[in-house]
């Protein structure tokens, strides 16, 4: 079936370093992609989105890159902080519903 997968299940970084979280998606028809952050016991929280007519979008300390040729998304977090520790999910939207990947757990060491 359709799936969105992540290359790395866990990522540990030092506070202040940059983090890169990768994601592969499978549905070529998807035209909208979102990164969500989920802290323990809470619902997913929107971080940044990108449409398929773009290849890069920047937010505050975060950048999303989209490579449609290889169906790959990445989330870059600049100057990672302890508060960034969470599970990060990419998600795609083929036909209205949002399909999530398995998630990458980001751990920030002080």
């Amino acid at each position: 079936g359709e799936s969105v997968g992540l290359h790395l299940p866990t990522l540990s970084v030092q506070e202040g370093d940059n983090s890169i979280i990768n994601c592969a998606y499978s549905n070529s028809a998807s035209d909208y992609f979102i990164w969500y952050k989920q802290e323990s016991g809470k619902g997913p929280q929107f971080i940044i989105d990108i449409r398929s007519n773009m290849d890069k979008r920047q937010g505050q300390r975060v950048t999303v890159l989209l490579n449609k040729t290889v169906k790959h998304l990445s989330l870059q977090i600049a100057a990672t902080q302890p508060g960034d520790s969470a599970v990060y999910f990419c998600a795609e939207t083929p036909g209205g519903k949002l399909i999530f990947g398995q998630g990458t757990e980001l751990s920030v060491k002080p």
Binding site: P44, Q45, G96, K97, Q102
Partner: protein, 114 residues
């Protein structure tokens, strides 16, 4: 309230019982989604409403699961004859426009079936 509200936050029930989970979306959001999330997994799509109608219910695992949104606002997810495998976090999200729009999630209802 300002965000998506889900009740109850925790529900413990016995195998075979009936359960209802409620979602109150952000006011004015026409699209409403239900997801199920098991520990260590990503949210799994269940059903999506546009207004009062179910636009896509392809994620409902079987006929024990049913959801309604009679007035296009509050939605109820209903689970009949619960099984231990139904234990999970049930997440609700709403969106202003539906397809291609940001989803705002509630904090979820954790269901435990003993």
């Amino acid at each position: 309230g300002a965000g998506v509200s889900q009740t109850p936050s925790n529900k413990v029930t016995e195998k075979g019982k009936y359960v209802e989970l409620r979602c109150d979306p952000i006011s004015g959001h026409t699209a409403l989604y239900w997801y199920r999330q098991s520990l260590g997994q990503g949210p799994e799509f269940l059903i999506y409403f546009q207004g009062t109608g179910a636009a896509d219910d392809s994620g409902l695992p079987n006929d024990r699961f049913f959801a309604v949104r009679p007035e296009g606002s509050v939605s109820t997810l209903k689970i009949q004859r619960t099984e231990r495998g139904d234990s999970a976090m049930y997440l609700c999200a709403s969106s202003l426009v539906g397809t291609g729009g940001e989803l705002f999630f509630g904090e979820g209802s954790r269901l435990t079936v003993l």
